[in-house]
Structures are given as structure tokens and as C-alpha cells.
């Protein structure tokens, strides 16, 4: 960091530099900073903290989460599989006469279909969540940064990636300091 700032200011993704990490004093400060960051036009940035700060998604301009669609489609698939499956098993493939009841009835098939719909919806929601947030992920450049471990404890961080088109190490660092960062450091890959 003490190397001549003029030549290394402009860094690209291949420079071994992941980005800048800025520490904030608290949730209120980081929320205000997020609003400024959003307005400033950065794209590859994120806020890290021990709990979801209320209003942060709006401050960052995040779109409504699409994880609900995974759940809905999973539930619909589960329901259809159960209904069609029971119809096929008990009416088409091997009809079992039980007490003079119809071979297939949507009413007696409903409890199973209901349960299977919930099962598929829950699994699809969980799976969809993992897809959307990119987990499981074993390695992350931030895990190598010493203070980042405090993000799950009581500190709030903003990280701007060096791959962002507006990224400029010194200018971005100064910008982060003006929006209230207590401490700004470089994260290496």
C-alpha cells in the first residue's frame, strides 16, 4: 500500500487485488453509506454484517428476491407428481379394489399430494436460495482478511471489488472515508 500510488492506482481484476474493505462503526452508519454508494454508481459492492439491517435492501437498491418462484414451482411440481403418480399407481398400473372405493379419488389422494407439495416447495426454496446466493463456497478472498471474521460478530463492512469499472484504489478509498468508513484496507485475492 505504501508503493507509489500514482502507478498502482488503476488496478484490474488480474492484479491480485480483490478490492477495498471499509469498516463502519455501526448499522446506522453503514446504512447511510450504502445509500451514498448506490447513488455513486458502483456495481460490484456489498455490505457485510452480523444480521440483516432493516432497510438495507432498499438502500442498496436490491430487486425483490426471486426465491419465491423456486418454492412455487417446486410446490406445484410436487403436487402434480403426487396426484398423477397415485392415479397411475392405483388406477392404471395395478388397480386395487379397496372397500368398493373408486380406484382414484382426488380426495383420498389429497393428503399425500399436500405433503409432497410442501416437501418439494421447501427443498426447492432451499436449493433456490443456495443457487441465488452462490453457496456452498469454500474459498473466498475475504476469508483471508483478518478483520473480516468480525462481520459475523459485531462489525459492519462495505467491500468494493476491484473488478468494478469505477474502482480506483485511492479515489475509492477517499470516497469510502468521506461516507463514514472508520478504516479502509486492501483485500488481496
Amino acid at each position: 500500500m505504501t508503493t507509489d500510488a500514482n502507478t498502482t492506482n488503476a488496478v484490474g481484476p488480474g492484479s491480485g487485488e480483490y478490492g477495498l474493505i471499509a469498516e463502519f462503526a455501526g448499522a446506522g452508519e453503514v446504512l447511510r453509506a450504502a445509500e451514498r454508494l448506490r447513488a455513486s454508481g458502483f456495481q460490484l459492492w456489498d455490505v457485510f454484517g452480523p444480521y440483516p439491517v432493516p432497510g438495507m435492501s432498499a438502500a442498496m437498491g436490491l430487486k425483490k428476491s426471486s426465491v419465491g418462484w423456486f418454492g412455487f414451482i417446486g410446490g406445484a411440481v410436487g403436487f402434480i407428481i403426487a396426484m398423477a403418480g397415485i392415479w397411475y399407481l392405483n388406477k392404471v398400473d395395478y388397480p386395487l379394489p379397496i372397500g368398493g372405493k373408486p380406484f382414484f379419488s382426488p380426495f383420498s389422494a389429497f393428503p399425500t399430494a399436500y405433503e409432497l407439495a410442501i416437501l418439494f416447495a421447501a427443498i426447492a426454496t432451499f436449493g433456490g436460495l443456495l443457487v441465488l446466493i452462490g453457496l456452498p463456497r469454500v474459498r473466498h478472498p475475504l476469508f483471508g482478511h483478518g478483520r473480516f471474521a468480525l462481520a459475523t460478530r459485531d462489525r459492519f463492512f462495505v467491500v468494493i471489488e476491484s473488478a468494478d469499472p469505477n474502482y480506483h484504489r485511492e479515489n475509492t478509498r477517499r470516497f469510502l472515508e468521506t461516507i463514514g468508513a472508520v478504516k479502509v484496507e486492501v483485500v488481496t485475492m
Binding site: G28, P50, Y51, G99, D154
Partner: protein
């Protein structure tokens, strides 16, 4: 600061200004805090994980030893049962459903309170749930495991249990889905899976906390693996909160459906005492009641043994007692309605069944069930009782006993006097029944004690969320936000 804490999370808090709730609430009506002695976010982590990080105390080792011994007993007994046949139990005509069925219904009912606390109270935005939901969810999963054990072993030929699943087989006969017993397979399977998913989803951020606090590389490695690489990024939280809400909604649908389907195992038969439309809601209420009894039985020792008094306060116990009272009242109401059905229904068999319950050979079981489920919870009307933890603990155990007896009354009380008097008999369990039940406790407490030791016992990130929502609301004073050092 804690005196003025209201625990109402402001909808959108962007500054240190007082939210409307804080500004207008008269101070005289201030509620007791949900967290006592609050000293910042990191303090919550310290309090919550203290039991995981120190050395294992002797009570834990002794408890695990007892639980493991019971588990070994259970394994041996089940091996004896499977190799010999279900005749080693006391079941015989006409009482073909004995302790195995009672234990199944009892354990699965206990699970329901965990889901109610974690899912329904979450949807209702009851913030007090956050301190107890992790324990309650763990209780749910282990109770459902214990419950699932009994139907599996009571089929006798355990090696054919896979016939319950629609797997293409060489004999080409499919399960028939008109039967509530088949519905049960799917209900319990779904319940177990969704409970585990929901629990794990809640655990992910806290496992990341454990990873970041871990001192030994091996713990860091395993917690890091378990949390799937959670970073606490807002883009993760954004989707996470939505997914959590959706799975909470799905689990809510399970709270009302699982025990309803268990109830249909009974209600779909034509036996007086079982053949009743009130059974599904009655069972659901009974499940919640017994589950809350078990939550109290577990929470009260845990909060002092694991040093969680600041996070699980007397107010939590007070609130759980109130829910127990409410659900217990529904159960009592169902007792009365059942008798009224028999009385006004005009069916002689039904009437005989009720009379036989009260004054027949199993009058003692009925008496215990009524005393424990109807009279005992009435004590919770009194605040003095609700805040006396020893008293609450004893009462909660009586509730557990009462709800087990209630299932005994339903199962055995309805079966033992058949339509034909020459069939009548008096059912007695054998020592194998007792040991199997004891073995299920071994299974439950082995898992539970391991959970207490190796996983975060309270939902730390959620607690931080509610704690800071409130501190923010009150932080315009010089105290400042808690996160500042």
C-alpha cells in the same frame, strides 16, 4: 437502556430518531426486556456460545452417559423385538395398538410446539421466539425421529418397511393411497425433512459465527464446512430472509396437517372413541399443548445450566406458560365436546365408550389425564406460578405425563372393550414395552445433549437483530450505538 426497550422492530429505521412506537408508548406500560444486562452485539455472541466454547461440564458428561446407556438399552431391546416378534410387547387382541402407538403419537405431538414456535410465531412477528426457537426446533427434529421409530418397529417384519414407499418392485403391487397410514408415511417424512431444512437454514449464519470464533483449526474447518461458506453479505441476507419466511410459511402448513393426518389414522376407523370428526383439530391442539410442556421441561434447566439467563429470561418462560394455558384450554374443551358428542349422538356404543372411560377398568388413566391436562394448567393463570421456575418445571412434567395418559386413554381405552363382550380384555404392557420407551428417551437426549454442546443453542443473528433494532430506536442519547467501541 434496557428499561425502555420495547422490542418492536421499527419498519424502516434509517437514523437514530425515535420510531413512532417508541415515541408514543407510555413509559408506565414498558414491557420487561427480552434480553437482560445487554452489553452490545458481541456480548450476545459470548453469552450464546459460552456453553459451546468452554470445557464440557460434568453434568453434561453425566447426562450424556445416562442418555447413551438408555440408547444402548433401546438398541438391544429393538434387536430383541425384531428377532423375536411383536408378541414380546403386551399387545394382543383386541388391544393391537399399545404403547408403540401411544409413544408414536406422544413424540410426534411434542415436535409440534417446536414448529409452532419457530414458524407460526415467526409469521406473527413474536420476537420472544428468537431466544427459544433453536432449542424448540432441535426438540422437534429429535422428537420426530423418536416418533418415526415406533411405526417402523411395530410392523413386526422391519425388513419389509420399504413396502410403504412407492418403489417399483418385482412383485409390482403398489401401496394403496386410500389409507391414512400411507398418508402418515408422507406426512412424517415431509415433517422431518422440512424441520431439518428450516433448522439448518436458521443455523447457517450462526455456524458462520462459530467458524469465526473457533480457536482450533479443526473446529474452524467443520463449522466452515457446515455453514457452506456464509459471509453475512447483504445480498445473501436479502434472499435468505425471503427464503426463511417462505419455509416458515410451509412449516406452518405442516403444524396443522401432520397431526391431523395422525388423527385420521384413528378417525378413519369405525371404532367408537376414534371415529370422530373432532379428532384432527383435537390432536393438533393436544400436540401443541404437550409440545409446550416439553419445551418448558427442557428450557428451564437449560437456561441455568448453559448460562443463558440473560437471553432466555423469566419473561420467556412466562409467555410459554401462557401459550400452554391457551392450548391446554382447547384440549380441555375437546374433552368436553367428545363427551357431548357421545351424549347427544344417541349411539349406544359411543355412550358406553365414554362411560367405560370414566368408570371402566382404566378409570385411573382417565383421571390422571383430566387432572394433568385440565387442572394442572389452570395454575398458569397466576403470575406468581408462572414466574416460579421450579413450580413451572414440575407442572410441565405433569403435563407431559398427562398428555401421554391422554393418548393411552384414546388408544387403549377405546380398544380394550370390543363390540363383543367375549373379546374384552385388560391390556398390560410388558417390560419390553417399558424398555423400548426408555430407549426412545435415550435417543432423544443423546441427540439433544450433543446439540447443546456443538451447535449454537440460541439464534444469535436473530437476537442481534432484535437487540439492535431496539437499541437503535433508543440510541439518540449519549449511550450511542452498541457496535461502537
Amino acid at each position: 437502556m434496557s428499561d425502555s426497550r420495547q422490542h418492536v422492530r421499527p419498519e424502516k429505521e434509517t437514523s437514530g430518531e425515535l420510531s413512532p412506537e417508541f415515541a408514543t408508548a407510555p413509559m408506565g406500560l414498558a414491557r420487561e426486556p427480552l434480553i437482560t444486562g445487554y452489553r452490545g452485539l458481541e456480548w450476545i455472541s459470548d453469552e450464546a456460545t459460552r456453553f459451546n466454547e468452554g470445557g464440557a461440564p460434568s453434568w453434561w458428561r453425566a447426562g450424556l452417559l445416562v442418555a447413551l446407556s438408555l440408547l444402548v438399552l433401546g438398541v438391544v431391546i429393538v434387536a430383541y423385538l425384531v428377532t423375536t416378534g411383536v408378541g414380546v410387547w403386551g399387545v394382543s387382541h383386541p388391544v393391537m395398538w399399545g404403547w408403540a402407538t401411544i409413544n408414536f403419537v406422544w413424540w410426534i405431538g411434542i415436535g409440534h410446539a417446536g414448529t409452532l414456535i419457530s414458524a407460526i410465531l415467526f409469521l406473527l412477528r413474536q420476537q420472544w421466539r428468537t431466544a427459544v426457537n433453536r432449542v424448540a426446533e432441535a426438540m422437534t427434529i429429535f422428537a420426530v425421529l423418536c416418533a418415526a421409530l415406533f411405526p417402523i418397529i411395530h410392523v413386526g417384519r422391519v425388513w419389509y418397511i420399504w413396502w410403504l414407499l412407492p418403489i417399483p418392485t418385482s412383485n409390482a403391487v403398489w401401496p394403496q393411497f386410500h389409507s391414512p397410514l400411507m398418508w402418515d408415511v408422507f406426512a412424517i417424512g415431509t415433517y422431518l425433512t422440512v424441520s431439518i431444512l428450516f433448522w439448518y437454514l436458521g443455523l447457517m449464519p450462526d455456524l458462520a459465527l462459530m467458524r469465526d470464533r473457533a480457536r482450533r483449526p479443526v473446529s474452524r474447518f467443520f463449522y466452515g464446512l457446515l455453514c457452506l461458506g456464509w459471509t453475512g453479505s447483504q445480498r445473501q441476507w436479502h434472499h435468505y430472509e425471503k427464503a426463511y419466511l417462505i419455509i416458515a410459511g410451509l412449516a406452518t402448513a405442516l403444524v396443522v396437517s401432520v397431526h391431523s393426518i395422525v388423527a385420521l389414522d384413528f378417525a378413519a376407523t369405525q371404532l367408537p372413541g376414534w371415529h370422530s370428526t373432532i379428532f384432527p383439530p383435537y390432536f393438533v391442539a393436544g400436540a401443541m399443548f404437550s409440545g409446550f410442556g416439553m419445551v418448558l421441561t427442557l428450557i428451564i434447566p437449560i437456561r441455568s445450566l448453559c448460562g443463558l439467563e440473560n437471553l432466555i429470561t423469566k419473561r420467556h418462560i412466562d409467555l410459554i406458560c401462557k401459550v400452554t394455558l391457551a392450548t391446554g384450554s382447547i384440549v380441555a374443551y375437546a374433552f368436553v365436546v367428545e363427551a357431548c358428542h357421545a351424549w347427544f349422538g344417541g349411539k349406544p356404543y359411543e355412550r358406553f365408550m365414554i362411560w367405560n372411560r370414566v368408570v371402566g377398568p382404566y378409570w385411573w388413566a382417565f383421571f390422571v389425564a383430566v387432572a394433568c391436562n385440565f387442572l394442572v394448567p389452570q395454575a398458569f393463570w397466576f403470575r406468581k406460578v408462572r414466574l416460579n421456575l421450579r413450580a413451572v418445571w414440575v407442572l410441565s412434567i405433569l403435563i407431559n405425563v398427562g398428555m401421554w395418559m391422554e393418548r393411552f386413554v384414546i388408544v387403549v381405552g377405546s380398544l380394550h372393550r370390543d363390540f363383543v363382550p367375549s373379546n374384552w380384555s385388560y391390556y398390560r404392557p410388558t417390560w419390553v414395552d417399558v424398555c423400548t420407551f426408555a430407549g426412545s428417551f435415550g435417543l432423544f437426549f443423546t441427540f439433544f445433549l450433543l446439540f447443546l454442546r456443538y451447535l449454537p443453542v440460541v439464534a444469535v443473528s436473530e437476537l442481534k437483530s432484535i437487540a439492535s433494532a431496539c437499541v437503535w430506536g433508543c440510541s439518540s442519547t449519549s449511550d450511542g450505538p452498541d457496535t461502537r467501541r
